[in-house]
């Protein structure tokens, strides 16, 4: 009902309100960003010089702090020189929304400054491949191991204490070691993502497996299921929907390790693009690239969530995420 209060504790929203609020959640930060960027008297700590006047070191397009500009301005006033002109501006590291929006397009068309360097789409594709291999390798071992740990106490006791210890070791700390063993190219990067994901994965999935209702296993036993049938016909299908959700969350973690991974050995991928563009002070490209990671992450998650609904039709339809 549209007359329901907006702030009712733990009351579900109408789909219409949900949509409005979802859009707002993106619009609000954009609005704040817009205000800071376009309203000249809010923040804008610098002056961008439009007319250097007689100040020897001023150049057109250069940015300077407001206080320093005022000093030079006053000095020229006294000396009777030509007065410098300028407009208030935000620092270069905070580009306006429209600049970043344009950069979404231009960063793809900007030619790499050196021949050996990659276009943005190549960098992105490279990053996605690193994530894919790191995450796939981790899942190939981590998922079965997690399920076994959650099912058999013996395996759990044998593995989990060590895994529990290892997951506190920060993955980036293994960077140097990974380079020494795997060389400077993609090997160590995949290894970092693997280390960052794997140990969490074993624990999360063994936990999910343990949460499966024991009564289902007992029911299967009274229906004559063998141990192997119990594992493949009850445990695995029973945890599959939650396992899928866990994997989606873990994939998000893999992305957070990407940036560290790509700084190891020869820097590459989207991280390389970001550091490179920051070096050239093309901060709108930096923002665009960071947002691209967010968008790829969010889109792939939405896609996987949709796919999940198809894959697991028995899951309650009201069960979101």
């Amino acid at each position: 009902m549209s007359s329901a209060p907006w702030l009712a504790p733990r009351v579900a929203l109408s789909p219409q309100r949900e949509r409005v609020l979802t859009v707002l959640s993106f619009l609000l930060p954009l609005f704040v960003w817009g205000i800071v960027s376009y309203v000249p008297f809010i923040w804008h700590p610098n002056i961008e010089i439009t007319e250097p006047g007689s100040v020897s070191y001023f150049q057109e397009g250069m940015q300077i702090e407001r206080a320093s500009f005022q000093e030079e301005y006053d000095r020229q006033m006294e000396a009777g020189g030509e007065l410098p002109q300028g407009v208030r501006a935000n620092p270069v590291y905070l580009p306006a929304p429209h600049e970043v929006a344009i950069a979404f397009y231009t960063s793809f068309t900007t030619e790499p400054s050196r021949r050996s360097e990659q276009w943005l789409h190549e960098s992105l594709w490279h990053s996605i491949q690193i994530i894919f291999w790191g995450f796939t390798l981790s899942s190939l071992i981590g998922v079965p191991l997690g399920i076994l740990c959650g099912t058999f106490e013996t395996i759990s006791r044998l593995q989990e204490p060590f895994v529990e210890f290892f997951r506190y070791l920060p993955a980036p700390a293994f960077g140097a070691l990974a380079v020494a063993i795997l060389g400077i190219y993609d090997g160590p990067k995949i290894a970092i993502i693997f280390i960052g994901t794997f140990f969490q994965q074993v624990l999360v999935i063994s936990n999910t497996t343990r949460k499966l209702d024991l009564a289902l296993l007992e029911a299967a036993l009274t229906l004559g299921a063998t141990r192997l049938q119990l594992l493949f016909k009850v445990v695995i299908p029973g945890i599959l929907p939650q396992l899928y959700k866990d994997q989606r969350i873990l994939l998000g973690w893999a992305w957070t390790y990407l940036i560290v991974a790509e700084l190891i050995g020869t820097s590459s991928g989207i991280t390389w693009f970001i550091t490179q563009q920051a070096r050239y002070q093309n901060f709108e490209n930096v923002f665009a690239a960071i947002m691209m990671i967010g968008i790829i992450g969010l889109l792939s998650d939405i896609l996987l969530a949709r796919l999940g609904k198809r894959l697991f039709p028995w899951e309650k339809s009201g069960n979101k995420s």
């Binding site: 029911a219 036993l221 009274t222 229906l223 004559g224 299921a225 028995w314």
Partner: protein
């Protein structure tokens, strides 16, 4: 105390007596011998069951009742092989039971249908485990589905079924695996009164029509009498058999029989066994204070 003069619960009409004599001549399906179960707890060993002896004959319907904490659930779980035996033995067709198996089907109180399988596939589960081909299992499952009256729901996931329907599927699933005995652990305990009474009628109907022996746990006295040939009454601390009652109510059973003398006699005996008058009653009394205002009396004054 009772104005109505009830017959003794031991009195049996000639027909009922003849039926019991015939029943006792049948093969023993399940035999429990000096069964004991001791748990290890933090405070030391706890005896959950002690010296339990009884046997169940072919196509007999036995209900088990007792006060809370008497070990009803432990007993049935031990029979199913889900818990180990500490002493004594459980024999099925003369062979000792050591682990769960399809020869002892079980229906649990909680809903234990596999949520990822449709009704039909749930019922096929036991058959497929035994290596029955998919096509044969499917056609047998469909027969069971029509037996429990859920034809329209064959391809529906359990999530979409009501509690009563879920338990009907659970019964069909357990029976489809062709067990020698069906163990039921308060299967209707979570259902509302109306559905429960329907389910009881269903269960008697199924039991009448197929060759199955049933051991049924309940905490509902009427349910225990209504369904059973014999009632195994347990007592607590430690859980042991208090008395075995032969229900003198003739079959087929109907809900109308709830008010007949044989039924009431059995009911009275169960009451005596399960709620014995005790000195604790004084402590159990509610400490009520009248909270209505003076002059606000709604009930007529006597």
């Amino acid at each position: 105390m009772s104005k109505l003069a009830l017959p003794s619960y031991l009195d049996q009409s000639p027909e009922v007596k003849a039926r019991f004599d015939e029943l006792k001549r049948r093969d023993v399906i399940l035999e429990v011998k000096n069964l004991g179960k001791v748990y290890d707890s933090a405070k030391g060993p706890v005896t959950a069951l002690k010296d339990i002896n009884f046997s169940v004959h072919r196509r007999e319907f036995v209900t088990v009742i007792g006060p809370s904490g008497c070990g009803k659930s432990t007993l049935i779980r031990t029979l199913a092989g889900l818990e180990s035996v500490s002493s004594g033995a459980v024999l099925l067709d003369g062979k000792p039971v050591t682990e769960p198996g399809p020869d002892r089907g079980m229906v649990f109180q909680g809903y234990t249908l596999f949520p990822w399988l449709t009704v039909k596939k749930n019922i096929m589960f036991g058959l497929r485990n035994q290596g029955v081909s998919s096509a044969t299992a499917a056609s047998e499952a469909l027969e069971w589905i029509s037996l429990v009256g859920l034809e329209k729901f064959a391809d529906v996931y359990p999530d979409q079924l009501s509690g009563g329907m879920k338990q009907r599927v659970a019964i069909a699933r357990a029976l489809a695996a062709k067990p020698r005995i069906l163990l039921m652990d308060e299967p209707f305990g979570a259902l509302d009164a109306q559905t429960r009474s329907k389910m009881q009628a269903y269960l008697l109907e199924i039991w009448k029509n197929i060759d199955i022996t049933i051991l049924f746990i309940t905490h509902d006295l009427d349910e225990a009498i209504y369904l059973a040939d014999r009632i195994l009454v347990l007592k607590a601390n430690p859980g042991s058999v208090d008395e075995v009652i032969e229900v003198a109510v003739p079959r087929p059973r109907t809900v109308q029989q709830f008010l007949e003398p044989e039924f009431l006699a059995a009911r009275q005996r169960l009451d005596q066994l399960i709620h014995p008058p005790s000195q604790d009653d004084e402590d159990d009394k509610l400490n009520m204070i009248r909270l209505t205002r003076v002059g606000d009396e709604v009930e007529p004054q006597q």
